[in-house]
Amino acid sequence: MASLKEGRRVKLRHSRSLPLLATTGVLAILYTSASLLYPGFFTVRVFLNLLGDNAFLGITAIGMTFVILSGGIDLSVGAVVAFTGTLIASLLTRGTPPGWAMLLALAIGSTFGGAMGFLIHRYELPPFLVTLGGMFFARGMSFVVSKESVGITHPLYQQASDFGLPVAGGASLPLTGILFLGVVALGVTVAHGTRFGRNLYALGGNEASARLMGLPVGGVKIAAYALNGFCSALAGIVATLYMGSGNPAMGFGLELDAIASVVIGGTLLTGGAGSPAGTLVGVLIFGTLQTALVFDGRLNSWWLRIAVGLLLLLFILLQRVLSRPAGARHP
């Protein structure tokens, strides 16, 4: 019979934080080994770089987390990052004030995501295909905007990209890193602290149930894609800050890195379980691997892809093991 004890015992076994713990463990192991192997790795600066260098990946991955939590997937993010970045850069060269250019980019990104969400929801099309179309479209459009990388010379931009929050030992957290952490904090709040976030988990957990529970399923789904589009556009802005330019060829394959980070961060690809906080850890794992490779300086860079593939496999298998006993049979 249901009792206090039942709730407690079960909580230990199927603790939802277990995947997050596992991911954090992997990060700790990776970081420690890299620190032991490579002198100069264990510094504040390297850690802050991790946040700054992976900011646009991280922000895309947070957006992707929402879509994946809702039970979908979005392959268009890398192309949207490139499109918005190129758009902003070329608008700036034409004298548009940075604020307006960014607002326009954010609006376009959200609308584009929302439109894909609409097609997916209303016509019950596979998210995978619709967003694939979106990826082709956005990538092509960024080359329509400009065939080559556009430099940004706006003085405000220079100041912004040089800005850093001093932390310790002369190291400072760049603006891109600050934005990333801000998005993570916001993402965690939205996912865990708002009705929309909870609805998202419900939708990803069981769409039919969510509908019968009277939740606005369509709205939530479309909003998840729109939010992801917004994050991609924001990542595009961060990319222009990071590089001081807008490059239509950038972010090629970024969607895969983002999905990999989300999965490594413990979010279930079937939707309904996971957290943006895990995604932060996933992105840090990704970044640590990449930085360690640079520090080593001898290994072929393609080891990164293999390592990411293996980590993906590891975490997916882990998820299977963890989720199997929890999935009580439902009639």
């Binding site: 770089n49 950038m250 640079v294």
Partner: protein, 299 residues
């Protein structure tokens, strides 16, 4: 410089942010820089960006965090380097650019640029072609990756070069992305469209030219005689094609930048002032000289 290097207690550590391994030319450059480092006892940190600027920037920032003595950067595109180079400058790490230039508002962001003059290469190809065709003919141009500096400059130089010969006309110009496969596909389409009008092909690199040669052969025409093919880079494959009589001419773009790069690095580390740009001299190879020099080619 060798004496100074020996005088240092610690060998130099240099980071090299390479674009990737997309062509034979690129791997020759990598090998040159790697080989020269071990010859000089320099610790080289090598990073392959898989063709992505964002990866290159991350690599450079990694080098800075690691505290290398100098950085060699082969920039994948011209713009977008200011923030990271300002970082390097703040950390007082000299950056030596190789093989293509960048656009920055502040020239002190890098120590020097060691590169071929892409415009001159294009012009040399044009001049050679103009002589070969006696100043008259229809040319198809296979451009490099859109937006890449060599593509822009090789186009610019070539156009300037044929300007003096009004009989030479570029009847089609499309991007083959510096790749064999794309070069071949694009050439196939152009051959269908223009057929026998085409008298010459100008490719921005050898790989595309080799792809185009295959396409021309498949169309039943003879590359090297019926269709004149000229390209840039001078990799081994190009020499082999010239020996086989299929490629007419290649303008060498020397990838063996290792020695020059480390000379510059050592000077920069020692605080010497370097010229803004060191132009690597390039020369034209044609079929008549190819057989003689193919044996001595290192790449």
């Amino acid at each position: 410089p060798a004496a100074r290097a020996a005088a240092r207690t610690k060998p130099l550590t240099v980071g090299f942010a390479q674009v990737g391994a997309e062509s034979a030319w690129r791997t020759a450059e990598t090998e040159s820089i790697k080989g020269e480092a071990s010859k000089r006892g320099i610790t080289l940190k090598f990073s392959d960006a898989q063709g992505k600027q964002e990866n290159q920037i991350k690599a450079v920032r990694g080098f800075i965090a690691q505290g290398v003595d100098a950085i060699i950067l082969a920039p994948v595109v011209e713009t977008g380097w200011e923030p990271v180079l300002r970082d390097a400058k703040r950390a007082r790490i000299p950056v030596v650019l190789v093989d293509r230039g960048i656009k920055v508002s502040d020239d002190s962001l890098f120590a020097t640029l060691i590169a071929s003059d892409f415009i001159a290469e294009g012009r040399m190809a044009a001049e050679w072609l103009s002589r070969k065709l006696n100043g008259k003919g229809n040319i198809v141009e296979l451009q490099g990756t859109p937006g890449a500096a060599p593509a822009i400059d090789r186009k610019k130089g070539f156009e300037a070069g044929i300007a003096s010969a009004p009989g030479l006309k570029i009847i089609a110009s499309q991007s083959g992305d510096f790749r064999r496969a794309t070069g071949k596909e694009v050439m196939e389409a152009l051959l269908k469209k223009h057929g026998t009008e085409i008298q010459a092909v100008y490719a921005h690199n050898d790989d595309m030219a080799i792809g185009a040669i295959q396409a021309i052969e498949e169309s039943g025409r003879k590359p090297g005689s019926e269709v004149v093919v000229v390209s840039i880079d001078g990799v081994r494959g190009a020499f082999e094609s010239m020996v086989a009589g299929k490629l007419n001419c290649t303008v060498e773009c020397n990838p063996l930048l290792g020695p020059l790069a480390y000379d510059a690095v050592e000077k920069a580390v020692a605080g010497e002032k370097l010229p803004r740009k060191t132009v690597v001299p390039d020369r034209v190879y044609e079929q008549s000289t190819a057989r003689a020099s193919i044996g001595s080619r290192q790449y």
